[in-house]
Subunit: 148 residues, 2 copies
DNA sequence: GTATTCGCTTGCATTATGCAAGTTATTTTC
DNA sequence: GAAAATAACTTGCATAATGCAAGCGAATAC
């Protein structure tokens, strides 16, 4: 599953990397649901198979949107964290959700429609920057723990 | 290739529909490169195979992001046009290209870097609305011809 | 030191994608 | 108006991606 590019178009090249069923879902789980370990991902409602998960995490690391780390004094559990390159996918996710909210409800009426979606509708930019800010805060806390 | 949804998450549901190698590329070709016939798509630089193209166009029509029409007095050539639901994918495409421009050049140095990318960088919102406006104009001209 | 948990890998089935050739209906050319 | 060209596909077959279930080794918990 090496990375190849079909051509020099920026749109197409983004889809050469992100155009599959799982990568952006995994990013969403990290960014919004706070998932960070292999086990976390396997327990998500999307129910990804462990072999696919393993392959995708490897690819995402190669591409540079996540890094693999550990907590101090724990050799068992791996932590997968978004890099800046991965965090920069937030606006794409937000636009995807916006499109779902507006245009997918006819095909899929049970799409969630709660508080968070309300926030998204009211101020997309704020929603985006809030997500990024929250994740960066989490990263800061983790790196403090690792050094302290 | 029927449409199924993994869960009720708006992010994941968008990817249930759009999460593949081709659909958003085809939308890009319609929106930006003005492609509209089966032949147009087969002649693109991305070089999609005709069987895949056929399957994807069918799916896109089922999902409601394109419609299949014809020009008056021409039974041979089919026209594929974006619906409102399809045009609403523009912001997603723009965010994908923005991410490519900022974060994919290290992996893929020959990504185009011309005038259009410059415009995108300088004013993303203007770039988006300009694309939508231009496409709507095209639609208006076509529908005028069909009635006149 | 035994059991459990975590992070995988492996084997096999199914679905998606890719290539090349063929088919049918329509239009163009002469 | 018959022959050639064109547009829009379909079909058959190969490869790659995804999906399911079971297993396995290292680290941790008891």
């Amino acid at each position: 599953m090496r990375q190849d590019f079909r051509c020099n178009c920026p749109f197409t090249s983004a889809l050469d990397v992100l155009g599959d069923k799982w990568i952006l879902v995994i990013v969403k789980q990290m960014l919004i649901e706070g998932k960070e370990t292999f086990k976390d991902f396997t327990e998500s409602e999307e129910a990804i198979a462990t072999n696919i998960l393993s392959a995708k995490l490897k690819l995402m690391e190669e591409v540079g949107i996540i890094i693999k780390t550990q907590r101090p004094h724990n050799k068992k559990t791996n932590l997968y964290l978004l890099t800046d390159k991965g965090l920069a996918l937030t606006p794409i996710l937000v636009e995807l959700a916006t499109w779902s909210d507006k245009h997918l409800r006819d095909l899929h009426p049970t799409i969630v429609n709660g508080e968070a979606v309300e926030l998204l509708r009211n101020d997309k930019a704020a929603f985006t920057s809030e997500l990024e800010k929250k994740y960066r805060k989490k990263l800061a806390i983790l790196s403090k723990r690792n050094s302290g």
